[in-house]
């Protein structure tokens, strides 16, 4: 059996009188892509942003690599370290994931600097590698994100996310703002990266087509809860709950 990379127990997030995520538990295994589907407002983004320490959960525990320490209880320095070394995130909105005041290359370099890279030529080499890996033209490295296409902005987010060889990559609706052909190319890139680097990923999408293409397993969320989970083909061909049946029916 594959190793458990991340285990979540009873994750809950309450904002005043709204409950965004209710008592969510699941495991993420080595090298797999775990899909999370559900309508907007179902708590998908709150879930991944909590795991990436952008949001502080109200209750819940998370464990990395079968270790005993609940990572939500780490101090802020330890959290920052995990975030920089072990995790990467691609946000739906590039304005959340990128700094538009600095160049494309600068955005990626920033993540390297946070992980204590200091040697200029090593950083330059790493940037070249990451740009090539994410199919970004090298001659756009010194351009500002605002001058790049939506697809390129998302690829810079990936390059940045991969900078320090993370063990886990979070993708929150990474293609929802893109044209279909650009979307397809981006999804192919994600697949290639997963196959070559064996990184575990959590992919949030409201689009079952995207999930079908990439995910091994799926969690279905509604009103902040996981209402169903299973192998991707099983969720698509034999959905159990009425909500998932509706979701699958409306896909075709």
């Amino acid at each position: 059996m594959r190793k458990c990379i991340l285990r979540i127990e009873g994750l809950t997030k309450i904002y005043g009188s709204t409950i965004a995520v209710v008592s969510v538990s699941f495991s993420l295994y080595q090298g797999e892509i775990l899909g999370v589907v559900g309508e907007s407002g179902s708590g998908k983004s709150t879930l991944v942003q909590s795991l990436y320490f952008d949001i502080t959960p109200t209750f819940g525990k998370a464990y990395l690599n079968e270790e005993k320490k609940n990572i939500f209880e780490l101090n802020s320095q330890e959290k920052r370290k995990l975030k920089n070394f072990d995790m990467g995130m691609v946000y739906q909105n590039p304005y959340l994931g990128l700094n538009f005041e600095i160049t494309a290359g600068g955005n990626v370099a920033e993540k390297l600097l946070m992980a204590d890279w200091r040697n200029y030529s090593h950083i330059r080499n790493r940037l070249t590698y990451l740009f090539e890996k994410t199919e970004l033209p090298l001659n756009r490295m010194d351009d500002f994100p605002s001058t790049l296409s939506g697809g390129m902005q998302q690829r810079i987010q990936i390059a940045k996310a991969l900078a320090n060889n993370p063990k886990i990559l979070f993708l929150d609706e990474p293609t929802s703002g893109l044209d279909l052909s650009v979307q397809a190319r981006f999804l192919d890139l994600v697949k290639k990266i997963q196959q070559e680097l064996r990184i575990s990923m959590i992919l949030v999408s409201h689009d079952l087509g995207v999930i079908r293409l990439l995910a091994d397993r799926v969690l279905v969320m509604k009103d902040g809860r996981i209402i169903e989970s299973g192998l991707t083909d099983q969720i698509l061909e034999d959905p159990q709950s009425s909500y998932t049946q509706l979701l699958v029916n409306s896909m075709l």
């Binding site: 397993r217 192998l231 099983q234 061909e237 034999d238």
Partner: protein
């Protein structure tokens, strides 16, 4: 029990359609059988009698409603495919169980050679070796070299199906599940596919296969399971297997 590969006990499948006023549809009623190592079980029965549903329950594309599917993989503990963790199924699919579906879903933008190669890489074979075996398998199934880099969405029905078959056979799985694998093939490639399947039998693969064609079913099966209503379901030995 040493040479038993699969034990299906009182397995049932029923679908509940929540969107159609909780309508219930029977996939199949109580099915029980035992499959020994190297044995081939053929499945017969009318259209709608639950043949595909049974194959899908064993592969876990469908969740069984009740009953057990005990799999005894080589060198591992036995596991109930009806109830074990999804993670475990993924691992077994990668390493031990091959599946040819009745209808082929071509992964967009992946070449025919890559599809078959990937199947071996998942099993842990290194990429160069995987590529070599994949080419070999495709050639055995009469896919011309010039199609290796092409994408199956442009292939004929029969070519698509042979890629689908190659992907399952190349792994030499311990358990092979076949749902009408030869339905869209011409006579020549049918023969070739069956030959390749029997090559695996010699190496110890056990298989369960649905065949529409009576003659093909008889040439494939050691035992035959007939699907139907509760009283019609039965298993019998094939008197003159191949």
């Amino acid at each position: 029990m040493e040479n038993v590969v699969l034990e299906v006990k009182d397995l049932r499948k029923k679908f509940t359609l929540h969107l159609l006023e909780e309508k219930e549809i029977v996939g199949f009623q109580s099915v029980s059988f035992t499959l020994k190592r190297g044995e081939f079980l053929g499945i017969a029965g009318k259209s709608g009698s639950g043949k595909s549903s049974l194959i899908k329950c064993i592969y876990r594309t469908y969740l069984s409603t009740s009953g057990k599917i005990i799999f005894y993989p080589n060198g591992r503990n036995s596991v109930d495919l009806a109830t074990c963790l999804d993670e475990e199924i993924i691992d077994l699919r990668y390493r031990k169980i091959g599946h040819v579906s009745q209808f082929f879903y071509a992964i967009p933008r992946v070449s025919c050679l890559d599809i078959v190669t990937q199947s071996l890489v998942q099993q842990g074979v290194n990429i160069d070796e995987a590529k070599k075996s994949a080419k070999n398998m495709l050639s055995c199934l009469l896919i011309p070299d010039k199609l290796f880099d092409a994408h199956p969405s442009t292939f004929s029905g029969g070519e698509k199906q042979r890629v689908n078959i190659a992907r399952a056979l190349v792994k030499e799985p311990e358990l092979l599940l076949l749902d009408e694998p030869t339905a869209s093939l011409d006579k020549v490639s049918r023969g070739t596919v069956l030959e390749e399947i029997f090559e695996l039998k010699k190496k110890g693969t056990s298989a369960i296969g649905v065949f529409h064609d009576e003659k093909e079913l008889r040439s494939f099966a050691d035992k035959i399971l007939v699907m139907g209503n509760e009283r019609e379901i039965k298993v019998y030995e094939n008197d003159n297997p191949r």
